[in-house]
Every structure is written in C-alpha cells, then in structure tokens.
Amino acid sequence: MSGRRGVLPGFGLAMGFTLWYLGLLLLIPVGALVLKAATVDPEKFAATITSSRTLAAFRLSFGAALVAACINGVFGLLLAWVLERYDFPLKRLVDGLVDLPFALPTAVAGIALTTLYAGNGWVGRHLAVLGIEVAYTPLGVVAALTFVGLPFVVRTVQPVLRDLPAAIEEASASLGAGRLQTFFRLIFPELLPAAVTGFTLAFARGLGEYGSVIFISGNMPMKTEITPLLIMIKLEEYDYAGATAIALVFLAISFAILLVINALSLRSAHPVRRG
C-alpha cells in the first residue's frame, strides 16, 4: 500500500479536487452553522435544547427511527433470506422493488402512504376496524420511516448471505445441529455485522427524513412532531437561534452515528471472507 503513491498518478489532483469540493459544499455551510450556533446565547441554546417540546421531538425522531430501523432489521433479514434462499413467482421483480424507496421521491412516498394508511385509505380502513390508527399518530411516522429505510438492511445482508460458504451450514448439520440451532448459532452471527450496518444506515436515514413524514405524521407538537419539522417551524418563527441550536445538536448526533457505521463496516470488512 505504502508504495502506491509513488506509482499511480493523480493523487494531488484527485485529493485537491475532493478537498476543494468538500470544503465548498460541506465545510463552509456546516461551518456557518457552527458559527451561527456560537453566536447563540448559551442560556438560550440550553433552554431551546432542553425545552420539553424539543426533547419530545428528539424522543420521537430517535424513537420512531429506532422502531422503524428495528422493523427493517427484522423484515430486512427476512426479505434478504427469502430472496436469497427461496424461489417464488416474480422473485426478480420483488428483488428489484426493494430499491424503490431509494428512487421514489420522498414527498410522493409520503403522500401515497398517507392516502393508504389514513382512516379512509385502502389499508387504514381495515386497520381502523381493529382500532389501529396509523396516519397522524407516531405509528404513521414509523410507517414512513420504515418505507424510507427498507432497502438498507436487505441490501447489506443479501451479499453476505450469498457469500456465506455452504460448508458452514453443512458442517453444522453434520455435527448434529438442527436448522434453528444452525441459524441462531452460526448464520445469524455471520449476518449480524452486516445487519447492524444496515440497521444503523436505516436509523440514520430515518432520523433526518422529512419529506415523507410531514404528510403522514399530523405534526402535533409533543406528539407527532419530528425534529426536522421542529427546525423548520423554528425557522418559520424567525427563531434562527433555536433552529440552529437544534440543528447543530441533531447534526452532531447524526455525525456520531455515521462514525460508528464506518467503524462497524471497517470491522466487518476485516475478517477474511475466503475460508
């Protein structure tokens, strides 16, 4: 590795352009945010962050993103498993559809989900009979975030599952382990790092999601108001200081999560895959 810089050209150019671009597009705006936050009176900053409404928004954003990521963790694993291991009609189609949330504009998704899960929607109508309300409740936020984060776990787990040596499962069977034991003792631990990466990605994506949520959440302060919306509202109230404070804290947390993801993906990439 160390010798490479001497052989291949373009380090200066590529690095220079990358840093220049990142600087222009990332550092200056984020710097502006930090700068702006620095001008905020610390007391006001603390008051904004610790106000019960902000905390409620944080709680909802993190909580709903967490629940949605959990749902995606479970169903993502299930989907990856079913798509990799079983055959059923139109499997390729379903496999392709998994990426839909990447490609579909979130506003469209939000409108569609709201129409679907509202009390008079195709699905909401039947859930209403069971006494379950989705739209305009935290459940709606979870539904939107589940949609948005759906591909992450599937797409991180799928390749690992595909590359899992068949011999592992065969060895386990020949050593006397049943299917369940094999799954929980061997396959699951192998999939876990990828699943956690996918989970974290879904979580991070859910934290920041705005477009799809605002349509379905109902936006009740303290109840169904997510943090990005609160920031938006603070902006509309000309409360730049408040918006900046919340944005900065939110950004810091997101950044921390991202660092964790990168650390995780580095770790999961390390074990030798050929075995």
């Binding site: 839909l100 539904a143 991070a204 990005p228 920031i231 990168n262």
Partner: protein, 291 residues
C-alpha cells in the same frame, strides 16, 4: 437438443436435501410474511399513486402532466439534474480515486466527511444554505449588494441538491475501486502509459458500470429531492418549483388527481431507474465485474 460434453460443468443450483433447508411450511410462511411486508410498504403505495392519478381518466391525466406549470417544473428539475450530476460525477471519481488508490492520514475522516450529507436531514441541508446565502446570512449582505441571487433561485436549488446527492457517486465507486485493486493501473504505468492515459484507458472502462450506476442513483435522488429544495426554493410557481414541490403544491390546492398524476411521472421515473439498475447489475454479473 444439444447434449453437453466435457463433464458436468454446467452451474446447477444444487438441490439441498430437506435437512439442510427449512420445512416447506416454514418456507411458505416466511415467504408469505416477506411478501405481505413488500405489499404493505411498497406495492400498495406504488399502486395507489397510479390508481389516484388515473382516477379521472386519461384526459385529466395528460392535462395535469402537460399543464404549463408542470412543464416548467419538469424543466427546472431536468436543468438542476443536468448541472448536479456531472459535478457530482467528477467529485465522485476524484474522491474515490484519492481514497481507494492511496494511503494517507485522516482517510477515515475523509470518508466520513464524504458520507456526511447522508446523515444530515435534508431540512438542515437546505437551512445551511439559507444561513450562508440568505439575506440575513453570512454572505447575504455582500450578495445583496451585488444583486446576486442564490437562495430562492436556481443556484440555491442546485446547491441544496448538490449537497444532498454529493456522496452517491463516490459511495458507489469507493468499494468498487477498492475491490478491483490497482494492479491493472500499475501494469499500465509500467507499460509506459501516462497518468491520463492510464485513467482514461484502464480505470474508466474498469469502473464504467459502477459509474453508470452512481449516475442513475444520483439522478434519481436529485430529481426527487424535496426537503432541502423546499427550504431554499421560495415556492414561486413556475419559477422555483421542482417537480416534487409542484406535486406538493397541487396536493395543497385540492388538485389530488393532478398531484398524483405528476407524482406518477416521478414514480415511473423511479421504476425506470430500478429497471436500469437491474440491467446494469445483470450485465456486471455477466462480465464478472461489479459487486
């Protein structure tokens, strides 16, 4: 019928014995559960967009789609995408090249910085540019003096979209370049190729499908970006409304059918994206490249 010769070299999916597979009932249940999940969260939303779009017939549909404001929104979106994608393409290639071909200190930090826009809420992304270029922002007075409009105009929309979509190409290329290694480039250099020749003749063809894929993702996202653009757009009908904002606007005007009709355009675009992606993966797998 042609009989294969030369031994059983054909790749067959080996029938797993029952004991190495789940019982049919379990398989069926798991598949059913997965499919219900797909139905509830993907198929039905997809279906409802088209159902509502066509609720008042094709005439209404085409009127909504070809209405002047819709066309202008489409034009703005296309323009934004045409500016954003090439820039991010360049950035993606440069970043991936620097990260995957060389070793330097702080590489992890750089990778994280490249990824950063992923985790930033789009609303905050938009807000950053208002803080920077808004009339009350850092550069606001300076810009105002020179009558340069950034936010609530095309540059702002482009910047916000650029910010949100900047990691897409890079993220696609970095793992690809890492897995492909540098042997071929090193080979080319030892054979006397110049830096540029090596890059154009060896590296670009090697990663062309990854590039293409990144471009598709990047285009899809810039066409569909809502939160960030919403903050910096100003919502001037026909001037600063992109297609997603136009959809929202129609929706707020009780023109549900029109809203869903325009939304169905975006949805179709998303589906085309998925098909293209599938094709690329298929070709890549044929060539044994890719992921």
């Amino acid at each position: 019928m042609k009989l294969p010769f030369g031994g059983p070299k054909r790749r067959e999916k080996k029938g797993r014995p029952r004991s190495l597979n789940e019982p049919p009932l379990v398989r069926g249940l798991l598949t059913a559960a997965a499919l219900v999940f797909i139905l509830l969260f993907l198929l039905l939303p997809l279906g409802i967009v088209f159902a509502k779009a066509l609720a008042e017939g094709w005439g209404m549909y085409s009127r909504s789609v070809f209405e002047p404001y819709a066309l202008r929104a489409i034009r703005l979106t296309v323009l934004t995408t045409l500016i954003v994608v090439p820039l991010n393409l360049l950035f993606g290639i440069a970043a991936a090249w620097a990260v995957s071909k060389f070793d330097f200190r702080g590489k992890n930090l750089l990778v994280t910085a490249i990824d950063l826009p992923f985790s930033v809420s789009p609303v905050i992304s938009g807000m950053l540019f208002v803080l920077l270029f808004g009339a009350q922002g850092l550069f606001g007075p300076w810009l105002l003096e020179r009558d340069i409009k950034i936010v609530f105009a095309l540059p702002g929309i482009v910047l916000a979209t650029l910010f949100v979509t900047s990691p897409l190409v890079a993220r696609e290329l970095i793992p690809l370049m890492r897995s492909q290694g540098s042997e071929e480039e090193e080979m080319a250099v030892t054979l006397g190729a110049s830096g540029l020749q090596t890059f154009l003749k060896v590296s670009i063809p090697k990663m062309k499908w990854g590039l293409f894929y990144g471009v598709i993702l990047c285009s899809a996202r810039s066409i569909g970006e809502f939160g960030a653009v919403s903050v910096v757009s100003g919502h001037i009908r026909g001037l600063t409304t992109t297609v997603p904002l136009h959809v929202e606007m129609l929706y707020n005007e009780y023109q549900f059918t029109a809203a869903f009709a325009v939304a169905s355009l975006l949805t179709m675009l998303a589906l085309v994206t998925l098909v293209l992606k599938g094709l690329i993966e298929w070709r890549a797998s044929l060539r044994g490249e890719g992921k």
